[in-house]
Symmetry: C2
Subunit: 371 residues, 2 copies
């Protein structure tokens, strides 16, 4: 059971608080991704210092290494990785499809080979619930299947229907307790009728929150928004809504406008390691020679250690020299940028001026669509 | 001009303070290596938190990238890399020989090709002084030549004599100012007569400090100590003595016993990235499967974030998964271990019980010679 309170709304945008056994999460919220028990190149204290209140952990990675049983023997993922705030784990379903090899999918579940050592594993709704329980995840995700985009209508329909049966098995296997919850995942591709059938199936089962799956799979922002236009408001009003794997700053602000409360994406952390910086003026590639002699901070509007203590010239040098400190500082900055954006969004909704923030952002923020 | 005050001595071991324009350094001191303008995988604040008071920067790396002129345009190396404490830079001589290709050495200097892009560069005593001045180095090292070990007596003699002529040219080119100084470098291989001739040549020129070069080049600890036995005490009593590129904990404690005040080595930082941990019980390889399920800290005697907040099991996981956080935490620990060792050494000399510390350490510290 998870408590979710909506403080106020502005049109479809919602300002809320999700309460877990490990603390509250102010929504709309962005969750940095801590794939294998660490947000790459960041100390947990630094992640907290960015303003992040909740992390995402990947069931697929953790079940393979160090294994869920081992994490449990260390007292769960919070203790293992030294993060005392809330944690959401995905179900493993999406990454089994994108990372492992030799998959066979039956009604029972998915059999696959580890991308690490080739070992054979089976993931079912029941096993996914067990793993996420062993990890001590505050928010467990139902086990689902996500088809490739584009796919024929019948394929999407069959897959969605199987995901709904798996959602029911997930609910049945989930061990409920105070401050812990289970989210169902809507599927149905880009088809309104399938999305609506999926919502009906999920709400009949009943979950602590509802995720929107099968988006940000290559369909583009316009199509994604068009699905959210009908799918997000159709979800239960009193439960948190989570758009999985999204996204760029403009994706997030546009999705909040359509009623989404939670997001996760590797983009700020991955970009931090490849030299792409999110700034208040748009996206900047620190490898570019134009930064070599620049005494400017990455983003003069940012209060992170990277922007207050280092120049673009120094950051350019670190990336050219392949120095780990470059990844450390730029990851910190990017996650801080995302958290600052979420704070601006939350404050704007509270003050009933989110529409203005949205419009200003969409008209001034440059080139994040290139990423 | 640099001020060096010896607080007290116990036999040949010395407890001193070296004062620079960027602050004091308590000796015996260990300098973490910040090769290319960063101690790899560490924020400067974290380096300071380990107790380190002075860093070493590499002239060879910095002259190639980002270039000394560019560092100067950013206000010098302290400002460029956000380290406000003292910095010592090497002369570039040693690394030109070990890292670059197509070298030709004449009386004038060394012509070489960059290991980064193959560009041709010339390094002379005068150019080395200019580069270190541009970097704003508090302690500039004289430009010298270091022959491979072993080498014939005549080769070592000729090289030492050239290094002494280069030392004079370095002194003549050095721009002296308050809180900045120049160290001469003793050469002469494993030959007592050459070492003594080198000391005579250097002291005739006169330096702010004296480095012992040409050791830790593969001769082994026993031979190194036998050279230090006569060479260290023969250096001027009132100036700091710096043993370059050393070393393992047992090398350091044995060299302090023989009168050395300063050390630098990549060992703690490089080992931090490869999974070797220095602990109060000896060296530990975190990759070993025996650590997989260990709830113990790396070193229960250590107060660093790695040891107080994480288990060996978690550290093992990070290294197996190739996570940057593993390098960050283990580098921090190793540098803290070295700084704790230096603090113990300094306190022991002050309390006239260094001999006891030395003997206890040499009889109990395990396997650092394997590294």
């Amino acid at each position: 059971m998870l408590k979710f309170q909506i403080k106020n709304k502005e049109e479809n945008a919602r300002r809320g608080t999700l309460s877990t056994a490990h603390g509250d999460v102010q929504t709309p919220a962005f969750m940095p991704v801590g794939t294998a028990g660490t947000v790459k190149a960041m100390l947990p204290q630094s992640v907290k210092a960015t303003g992040a209140e909740i992390l995402l952990g990947n069931t697929y990675h953790l079940m393979l290494r160090p294994t869920a049983e081992r994490v449990a023997s260390f007292g769960g993922l919070h203790k293992f990785m030294n993060w005392d705030g809330p944690i959401l784990t995905d179900s493993g379903g999406f990454q089994v499809m994108s990372l492992s090899s030799l998959r066979s999918i039956t009604e029972e579940g998915v059999t696959f080979q580890s991308h690490i050592n080739g070992a054979k594993h089976v993931l079912t709704p029941e096993r996914s619930m067990e793993i996420q329980h062993l990890l001590d995840s505050n928010i467990t995700m139902a086990f689902d299947e996500c088809v490739k985009f584009p796919a024929p209508y019948e394929t999407v329909k069959k897959s969605m229907e199987r995901s709904m049966r798996w959602a029911k098995r997930s609910k049945d296997a989930f061990i409920d307790k105070e401050g812990y919850g289970l989210f169902g995942i809507m599927q149905g591709g880009m088809h309104q009728d399938l999305r609506m059938q999926s919502i009906k199936a999920l709400t009949d089962i009943g979950f602590d929150g509802y995720a929107i799956g099968g988006l940000a799979v290559g369909e583009g922002q316009e199509i994604m928004f068009s699905v959210l236009d009908y799918a997000a408001p159709a979800l239960p009003e009193d439960k948190p809504r989570y758009l999985m794997g999204v996204g760029r700053p403009s994706d997030i602000i546009g999705s909040v406008k359509r009623g989404v409360d939670m997001f996760d994406c590797v983009m700020p952390s991955r970009s931090g390691r490849t030299g792409q910086a999110f700034t208040s003026h748009g996206v900047l590639n620190i490898h570019n020679a134009c930064h070599r002699d620049s005494h400017l901070p990455l983003d003069s509007a940012c209060d992170c250690p990277c922007c207050t203590q280092y120049t673009r010239g120094y950051m350019h040098h670190l990336f050219k020299a392949g120095e780990i400190l470059g990844c450390m500082l730029l990851t910190w900055h990017n996650i801080r940028f995302y958290q600052q954006l979420m704070q601006q969004i939350r404050t704007a909704i509270e003050e009933n001026r989110f529409e203005q923030l949205h419009n200003d952002f969409m008209s001034t923020y440059k080139n994040d669509k290139k990423m």
